[in-house]
Amino acid sequence: MDILNALVAFLNFVFIPAAAYGAQLALGALGVTLIYAILRFSNFAHGDTMAFGTAITILVTWGLQSLGISLGPLPTALLALPFGIAATALLVLGTDRAVYRFYRAQKAAPIIFVMASVGVMFVMNGLTRLLIGVDEQRFDDGARFIIAVRDFREWSGLVEGLALRSTQALTVVVTVIVCAALFWFLNRTKSGKAMRAYSDNEDLALLSGIDPERVVRLTWIIAAGLMTIAGVLYGLDKSFRPFNYFQILLPIFAAAIVGGLGNPVGAIAGGFLVAFSEVAVTYPWVKVAGYLFPDWQPGGLLQLLGTEYKFAVSFVILIVVLLFRPTGLFRGKSV
């Protein structure tokens, strides 16, 4: 039995990638959930707004790089992030002013907001492409690895290697910080409580002296921050191509829903659940089993289902989870 190698193989191929991916989904889902809870609709433009924020950040990153500014081992994009957030915040506030505010004043049915967000999605989609094109862009710099496979093998003498990219670590760390900050904000500050109050009962919030438009603005600004951070981390870790940011919308929604839409804890749990089920269920256990039981020669790959079904599989898992927890992973209080 070779537990160490088995463990390393598991960490390297399942745990670390899934954790990073899960954190990316969680950040995205957090934004979706926030808008759902407070502005009362699912924002289909989320993915494309993430792409927009990332595109701006990339442009600024390039500018900084050409000026020779860098963050040492950390990606320069982190420096550019505030600019990206600011630009995205302006964009979403402008969108709100031009599009959503009208329906708010009209008290239009919430589904109308969803459809308006689909319209916004189309526009953002085009806008991002006009801005930066359709091609893949790489903008990560700084140290690529915290632990590189080769170094790890040399250091440990194991057959299996372990890689930890700095972007993966960064993603997880930033996710933790952002979540904690958001929690603190929503549950402890007056503005955060005002947002929750508005989410709970708009009219009564207004009758308590809470300015609804201020709540809406605040929500958009926070959402813009979440979207840009999520987009940039995702782009750093994978690569940036506008189309992928639309594709990621589906898993993000799945994560938000399974966690219980409107619930930030749920969004995070949902993100990790989706990511881990995608990776773990389709993982062929043959190698790990080989280390654990050297005498056993399994015929196949010990894979439950092929990777082509990974998204489907993750959905089945979500449904099974919901069967046992019919109210989503976390019901509790909505935001």
Binding site: Y36, A37, R40, F41, S42, R101, R104, A105, K107, A109, P110, I111, F113, V114, K190, K193, A194, R196, A197, S199, D200, N201, E202, D203, L204, A205, L206, L207, S208, G209, I210, D211, P212, E213, I257, L261, G262, T327, R331, K333, S334
Partner: protein, 277 residues
């Protein structure tokens, strides 16, 4: 969570998942206030005068209706269901557009203000329905009542808890999980937290048990005698009339009878037709 979810759980598929209809409002929060004008000399503290108007583009509900309350007094509105009592309260609070008439507070004409600014101007209101934040705890509900206050709110909160011990025991529980009467107590408590300069209550005692109702009326009397004018709609008319300095009977959106509570109690017709014998 909407009201029904507290009891019935999240069942069904209506409008959820992609949109969140819970707690949607009816007031247009984007509307801006118009200018505040000078009031009339000799006005009561709060007066909605000759109000005519209705919801949206629909027919008029209020017809030339006047409601007023003086400093330190309690004014009570009674009337059959659908008479327009709640509508009159909303009109005074700026929640529907008046076609005619004006609302004046403390010597200023506030007809053009939006509800948010009326709150800032010192008005406090407990609506008849949807009057709590269901997913926030009782304590947070009270805090939200004090949203515009900058001073220390702990003392007021203790007073509210003293007034409603049943609610005090549940201060960390989500308000949506309370019983009907308990919610009503939270709603009134929330308004008390505002420390407004005028308090408007729409059926504050609906669904509360007799013992609590008595407490509540006691409290309202104390508040009013402390100088804070109270305007309320009541269906528990007999008790309400007993404590009213001024009473209005509304019928079909118009003033039918006006007088002190005592006077109206004496009036046979009023008693028979509106106060339940």
């Amino acid at each position: 969570m909407s009201d029904q979810d507290a009891v019935f759980g999240k069942r069904g598929n209506r409008d959820l998942s992609v949109v969140n209809p819970n707690g949607r409002g009816t007031i247009d929060g984007t509307r801006r206030s118009g200018p505040v004008r000078q009031g009339h000399a000799g006005d009561p503290f709060l007066i909605g005068e000759n109000m005519t108007g209705g919801y949206g583009k629909g027919a008029d509900i209020l017809h030339d209706c006047t409601i007023a309350v003086e400093r330190g007094q309690i004014a009570v509105i009674v009337g059959p269901n659908g008479a327009g009592k709640s509508t009159a309260m909303k009109a005074i609070f700026g929640m529907l557009n008046l076609r005619k008439g004006s609302v004046r507070l403390d010597g200023r004409d506030i007809t053009a203000l939006n509800p948010q600014d009326r709150v800032k101007a010192g008005m406090g209101f407990v609506p008849q329905v949807n009057n709590i934040f269901p997913s926030m705890t009782v304590e947070e509900n009270l805090e939200m009542g004090a949203f515009i206050r900058k001073d220390d709110i702990r003392r007021t909160m203790e007073q509210v808890y003293d007034l409603f011990p049943a609610v005090a025991a549940k201060r960390r529980q989500a308000a949506g999980e309370l019983s009907g009467g308990q919610r009503q107590q939270v709603a009134v408590g929330r308004a008390l937290m505002t420390q407004p300069s005028v308090l408007m209550l729409d059926e504050p005692t609906a669904g509360v048990s007799p013992i609590v109702m008595d407490e509540l009326f006691d409290r309202i009397i104390a508040i009013a005698r402390g100088g804070l004018p109270v305007l309320m709609v009541e269906q528990n008319a007999k008790q309400a009339m007993m404590i009213a300095d001024k009473a209005y009977v509304l019928v079909q959106g118009a003033n039918a009878h006006t007088g002190t509570g005592h006077e109206l109690m004496q009036n046979d017709e009023v008693r028979r037709t509106f106060l339940g014998g």
